[in-house]
């Protein structure tokens, strides 16, 4: 009889203990930063536009902090700087790997891209990560809704990542164009 009860008991005990430890560890390390302007984002904003009072646009009627995204696909949040009319859009896009590009696209008052800051990159190291060099990012300066994206040439051997970058910028600029008024006086 003993060897009928022991195995499931031992297995369940181990599962319970492991799961308990993991939940504790998870609560200890997980920090919920939806709708919070992390200092990494602040550093990004400063790098693109320099000093400014940046805050994240929060949905007024939702009770806890859900960032406004006008449910555009891939957009995580929108950061605005009311005085000098600049806006940054935090967007996640798939390059070669799923959700590999997590960027902050800075758009100036004329609706063109001022600069791009990488919050995180999950592309193939050595190949996909080359989209971070200034030679490629420089081409995006002044990118707005009219510019044709084929004018920007891709990074060699990183076609997927470059395509991901272009589609992310196009989405950001389009979103800014449609919702410009709400962003600034909303």
């Amino acid at each position: 009889m003993k060897d009928k009860i022991m195995p499931p008991l031992v297995l369940t005990m181990i599962c319970v203990v492991v799961c308990g430890l993991l939940v504790m560890a998870y609560n200890a390390t997980y920090v919920d930063n939806t709708g919070v302007l992390t200092d990494d984002m602040k550093a990004g904003c400063k790098e693109i536009f320099g000093e400014g009072s940046y805050e994240i646009m929060l949905d007024p009627d939702a009770e806890e902090k859900t960032p406004v995204t006008f449910d555009a696909e891939g957009v995580n949040s929108i950061i605005t700087d009311k005085e000098n009319k600049t806006c940054l859009i935090e967007i996640t896009e798939d390059g070669y790997s799923k959700g590999g590009l997590h960027l902050l696209v800075g758009i100036n008052s004329e609706g063109a891209i001022e600069g791009i800051y990488f919050l995180s990159i999950g592309e193939t190291p050595g190949l996909g990560t080359k989209v971070q060099n200034d030679s490629f990012l420089g081409q995006f300066k002044g990118f707005n809704t009219e510019t044709d994206e084929n004018s920007i040439d891709n990074v060699t051997a990183a076609t997927f990542s470059s395509k991901g970058m272009k589609s992310a910028c196009k989405k950001a600029v389009k979103l800014y164009d449609e919702h410009k008024e709400e962003i600034f006086n909303g």
């Binding site: 599962c15 492991v18 993991l22 939940v23 998870y26 799923k98």
Partner: protein
């Protein structure tokens, strides 16, 4: 995405062994002979499809309670249980099949491709039918690579290599050439 696209994507574009690098340990160990490769391939396809079928509801259960971060532990527990169950049942019900495939079943629990597929299904956000197709595609890709490779390997055994390159190093270099050729498919999807 239509199912054919997923299938082609799995088998040719990002072949689970040659470009995603999953399941290399059994791939090198078992592909010495055509017979064992077929056995291993069939066992892998079967386990992958059933594992996906089981892990999908488990993930929905975890998601409902918001504890997706425990998905790895839950998945691997379910897969290990399933493989051991299949082995016991097969030993009793189908002894000849067990004699041919049985020995490969325990190897499949430590096969990265099986857990890789289940996690891949979650990352790509496939629904149930799509994840089953993805599992079938990856299983076929694994078997294709295995068969392709047992052919290459039996040629390698006979030709004259320098002493240190005999055996596994020669196989790895052949694998790099095959994976180079598979990169040709990378543009079609």
């Amino acid at each position: 995405m239509s199912y054919i696209l997923i299938l082609i994507g799995c088998v040719f574009v990002n072949n689970v062994v040659l470009s995603q690098f999953m399941g290399i340990c059994p791939f090198l160990g078992v592909s010495k002979q055509m017979k064992s490769s077929v056995g291993m391939g069939a066992a892998v396809i079967f386990v992958m499809i059933c594992a996906t079928a089981i892990t999908y509801p488990v993930y929905r259960l975890l998601e409902k309670f918001g504890i997706e971060y425990l998905k790895t532990v839950a998945f691997i527990l379910v897969i290990a249980m399933f493989v051991q169950l299949v082995e016991i049942v097969m030993k009793k019900m189908m002894p000849p099949l067990y004699k041919a495939l049985g020995v490969y079943l325990p190897l499949i629990t430590t096969n990265c491709a099986v857990l890789g597929v289940t996690i891949g299904n979650i990352d790509n956000g496939y629904n149930f039918a799509q994840s089953l197709t993805n599992a079938l595609g990856t299983g076929l890709a694994f078997t294709l690579a295995l068969l392709l490779f047992s052919g290459v390997r039996s040629r390698i055994e006979n030709c004259d290599f320098p002493e240190t390159f005999k055996g596994v190093p020669a196989t790895l270099i052949a694998a790099s050439i095959v994976s180079l050729s598979f990169m040709g498919f990378s543009g079609i999807i």
